[in-house]
Symmetry: C2
Subunit: 679 residues, 2 copies
């Protein structure tokens, strides 16, 4: 009997197995993850696979129908009771009889939102921290008076090879009635805590429990976005978002830290506020999907360090001043109930590690998603908020820093800045000849010079400029010559256009007259210059550390990344030299990273290891930072590196729930989204 070659797709893992090996066993031996709740009894149907038949010359495989066993008794029984799609087999039952190409069906793979079609398309195999294990337990026997739970543990060891299981206290009181209700067949939810190499029995269900859920959540300082996923299929069933209720204690992070310093009850109030909001979001996703919150067994949270600390009930005061000491930087494992999150009584919570005092678990999650540490290419990742979190690296070396950009990019600190709410200007073009602007506001797709705009705008009015809008305006003012390379509004142009007018010592640019009047002042330009100089100086510092002058890829994370046109980021010199084709918005990379950690515990180990290896640069301690900052105040040469400046990049719709609910730390659109969802 010779061994047969079996190729598993899409992972491409392959190996040789003797005739008669169940496909599930072969997959396990190769580390190909196929779910199975019933342990090969053919009743859960979780281990379904497809087969591909034909010549696979590249792999030296001829995969034929004869090379897989015929439908066995288990499969026939399963197919009678439930729907088994054509071609699908139960891998616990189907045996390898010759060379085979096996497909793990797409619905058993993490959903497409996570698997991005990059050059290096990668499939994320699932391996959740929670394992659902169906067992049949020996009935009590007076001759062997082991306790019911002890016999359950024996069954788990025998059938699933899990030993030294720690029992959650609440299970002690429940186990006997559950075992009897299930007629000695139960499904145990086992939490594998790889950090301590221990396995915990966290929930117990009578009979076969063929589902379990988890939530992944990004706690932004402005918006909270939460997703409900099946731990068994990987699919996302519902998403919900809301504005962070801590906003009432302070708009930005530092004002919240100050609030704690000034108010003895402040920390507690903010912790309660965010936990209450999270519990409401959990209720929302349960209602949307018809899931019982008791079936949610795992949860992953990310957030910047202040959000991370407040969520965990930790006083963030130390983060308010040097040396910006985190209470804990490593990954945190707790019970959800211990931090007031209402899921199943035994549900666990995992928080990704923080990188540094200003570079949080959200940046770690984004790093996990984008994976600079997995790549050859030198990748720059930026997440802009009051502080910009910057990660630069490849698989050889990764460095990280935060830069004090201040709130200008978030629509604050400028004369007409506002939150990204309907009525806010978000896009603009300035005619370099006439200096006339045309713009778009949030709430309508029409440009201001198109028919119907006025009617459309009359609903909300034209109220101000949102954060991404101000970036485009400053860039267009620069491109049209209204401001010089060193950021001065050219007063000479007042002769050419009424839109340039003196406001005393300096000049301003009028975008819209009337009520309210919308202008960009010299001070507004200065505020953006300071913010972008801070960002660029931080990036430059990291590039110095890496000894490079350009990067291979740039990922713009969060709402900031989603709603600004990469072209304008380059015009303003927010980002360094890079082929503009490789400058991309990466969406809510933090939220995606949270979901990766939810669905595969190996990713938890990966990011814990990666964060340990990331070199943290504290900009305040770097002598070069100030010089870089001063140099970055000016705008770059406008012609040279941007051959495609004329094209208008299609940005995502703000109404796209995938964006508005996925936004991470940073800019304003989330606020609008939050309010809308809060209704």
């Amino acid at each position: 009997m010779t061994d047969h070659l079996v190729l598993f797709m899409p992972s491409g893992k392959r190996g040789r197995f003797p005739s008669g090996t169940p496909i599930l066993d072969a997959a396990r031996q190769l580390g190909v993850y196929i779910e199975s709740v019933c342990g090969g009894r053919g009743i859960c149907g979780r281990c379904q696979i497809d087969t591909q038949f034909g010549q696979f010359a590249k792999h030296g495989i001829t995969s034929t129908q004869e090379n897989i066993s015929e439908f066995g008794a288990k499969e026939i029984r399963y197919a009678e009771k439930r729907d088994l799609k054509a071609g699908r087999r139960l891998s616990c039952s189907a045996l390898i009889m010759g060379d085979l190409v096996v497909d793990i069906p797409q619905d058993n793979i993490i959903n497409a939102q996570v698997v991005r079609k990059d050059a290096d398309t990668r499939y994320i195999e699932r391996n959740p921290a929670i394992q659902m294990c169906y067992v049949e337990v020996e009935e009590p026997d007076m001759h062997k008076p082991l306790g019911d739970i002890d016999r359950l543990l024996s069954a788990l060891e025998n059938d699933w090879d899990i030993s030294s299981i720690v029992i959650d206290t609440h299970i002690l009181a429940q186990a006997q009635s559950i075992l009897r209700k299930g007629k000695w067949a139960v499904t145990a939810a086992i939490h594998h805590d790889k950090a301590t190499q221990s396995a915990h029995l966290i929930a117990l269900y009578p009979g076969l429990k063929n589902e379990a859920y988890g939530i992944a959540c990004d706690i932004g300082s402005t918006t909270i976005a939460l997703h409900l996923s099946s731990l068994l299929s990987g699919s996302t069933l519902a998403s919900s978002g809301t504005s962070n209720p801590q906003i009432r204690f302070g708009e930005d992070l530092m004002s919240r830290v100050s609030y704690v310093m000034m108010n003895p009850e402040g920390r507690e109030a903010m912790t309660e506020a965010v936990r209450e909001a999270l519990n409401t979001l959990i209720q929302n996703v349960c209602d949307q999907s018809g899931i019982d919150r008791n079936d949610i067994l795992d949860s992953v949270f990310v957030g910047n360090p202040v959000m991370h600390h407040l969520f965990l009930g930790i006083d963030p005061t130390e983060l308010g001043g040097a040396p910006f000491a985190l209470a804990v930087s490593g990954a945190v494992n707790v019970k959800a109930s211990e931090i007031g999150i209402n899921l199943n009584q035994g549900a666990r919570t995992y928080m990704l590690p923080c990188i540094a005092g200003h570079v949080g678990a959200d940046a770690a999650a984004a790093t996990l998603t984008e994976g600079p540490h997995r790549q050859d290419d030198m990748m720059l990742m930026i997440d802009v908020g009051t502080n910009a979190e910057i990660v630069l690296g490849n698989q050889t070396r990764t460095v990280a820093a935060s830069s004090p950009t201040g709130p200008a990019f978030e629509g604050a600190e400028t004369s007409c800045g506002q939150r990204a709410a309907p009525g806010a200007i978000e896009r603009i073009r300035i005619d370099p000849e006439t200096l006339e602007p045309r713009y778009r506001i949030i709430g309508t797709e029409l440009w201001s010079d198109e028919d119907g705009f006025e009617e459309a705008a009359s609903e909300t009015g034209i109220t101000g400029i949102c954060g991404s809008g101000i970036i485009e305006i400053i860039a267009e003012m620069y491109l049209s010559g209204i401001i010089s390379e060193d950021g001065v509004i050219n007063g000479d142009l007042a002769a050419r256009s009424d839109r340039i007018f003196s406001d005393g010592r300096t000049f301003s640019y009028l975008i819209k007259d009337g009520e309210p009047k919308i202008v960009v002042t010299q001070n507004d330009v200065r505020a953006i210059q300071l913010a972008k100089a801070a960002l660029y100086a931080g990036i430059k510092l990291l590039m110095d550390k890496q000894n490079i002058t350009s990067v291979d890829k740039i990922g713009l994370a969060g709402a900031f990344g989603s709603f600004i046109d990469p072209k304008y980021a380059m015009v303003l010199g927010l980002v360094p030299d890079c082929d503009i084709e490789h400058v991309k918005a990466v969406g809510n990379a933090a939220g995606t990273g949270a979901r990766m950690a939810l669905l595969n515990r190996n990713h938890r180990r990966e990011i814990e290891q990666a964060v340990q290896n990331i070199e943290k640069i504290e900009t305040a301690l770097e002598p070069d930072f100030q010089g870089h900052f001063v140099n970055a105040m000016a705008f770059p040469n406008k012609v040279d590196p941007f051959p495609k400046l004329g094209t208008i990049v299609k940005l995502p719709e703000r109404s796209d729930p995938a964006i508005s609910e996925n936004t991470s730390e940073g800019a304003t659109p989330r606020r609008r989204g939050g309010r809308r969802r809060a209704r």
Copy 2:
């Protein structure tokens, strides 16, 4: 440089070490437990040792003053600040310079109550599950932005070699302020959970915390006894006891199980009642000793299966009928806070394993104390309550069973039976010639025929017969010929003495006339015969399993064992053939076992292993049980095996708090003690 021979007393462990080895290091290498909180910094003083100088020919050692280093700087500094008794050295500082005999001082060994002076006197080395670890933590550094807790964990790994520490959730919020309060020097309380090979950070104190406490508790169905011990010195600082408040739901175990079956809230009410009583006892021992309950970090509880389940909040209904399925038989590890026990927020609770559905953690604890599994001798251990728990074995093989003795031994089911309260007859002698009794009651040391007895008895009256009294009375009636070998009261004797009188078909024996009249009826004799036959049949069954007809040692545990004269136990045939010198009351062996498990985590592993190896015999399933039971109804030949019957064995005083507070499952004296203490 040659190695030196060092002998540690009292363990007798020895080894060779190079010149200059700190004595503490040598002890650790040999597995000799010496406490050290400060990790060898010479500030905690916990690692003190004595030295013995002289010729130790047997060991080939000449131990001299020159063979230990002179007082070092650490010792001089310590001795200046605190009291260092003459001859004492700090083993972290004192170096081995030649052959040495080192004494671990007695006050560092578990206190004398635990170390019984048996033929095989053994010293119990301490190795508590909680380790107090003083560390100096690196201050935060912006160049290395590890969290405060992460640096704490690094220090614990570096200084104490403890890795993969799991942090209790409540520590997350406390750590930063504690580290700053201690100026980066803190003492971490680490719980070593050997079962899962994991270490947990459960409490954190600023600076040096040189004490930690634990409680050990035996939850009897009648009385609860609790002890407070120092985890660092092993000494017991306070004890307290109370009657089990569950008594109001049912006097005996089965009536409490019935109460749960009949009342939906019954389980919860009984769980709350016992936990509340425990919290009161904890407050009592804290008040007695001036200890803050926040400094109690560990706890061990034992009890019979029903007490065990109710304490943990588990419905005991399954224990009320065959197959008597325990919810959990293995050792239980939980947080004290999870089961409503108010100690330090991070304190742990350990419960010893149960042996079988009627043989509980109390029997396991007694087994740990008496150690049949450690001995060559075949030892019988009996703990009598409504069920008698019986363990028989040696290091080769141990078997266990429970026997349904019923409540007769507890003073119930007999015509004049009562709880062991003042006024109850507890000892008796019957003149074989005159058939006149003389007796003693609880509350006075005088016998009824001594001067002053009447006055002394007038306080309480003579109210009935307590459980241990009825055993002595039946035995004396047998010895004086009032009852025959088959238990019949001889009516012919009515001619000789008015004390024998007809009550219809049968005869009774009058102990005391008046109000109340105290008699022993034929039914009373039958009740005791049934109880003792059940006990003996259980013992005989185990002896059959071991294929023996006599035992080497008998240990009578609990109050039953403490208050009956072993002689009468043999007269009645309660126990099998054994040299009466080796029949001993072993006191509250269960409570002692709880303390052993509290003070040395190795004892937890020992009893877990031992219980796994114990063969459980279910008497109800054994075909021979009924035959043994019938055969055991008769009384044994009264002359043969009891040469010393005439002597009066000195029994302990009932007022002895060590007994009355330590009583385990079983008889009545606890009730009196409980009431007294409850006042």
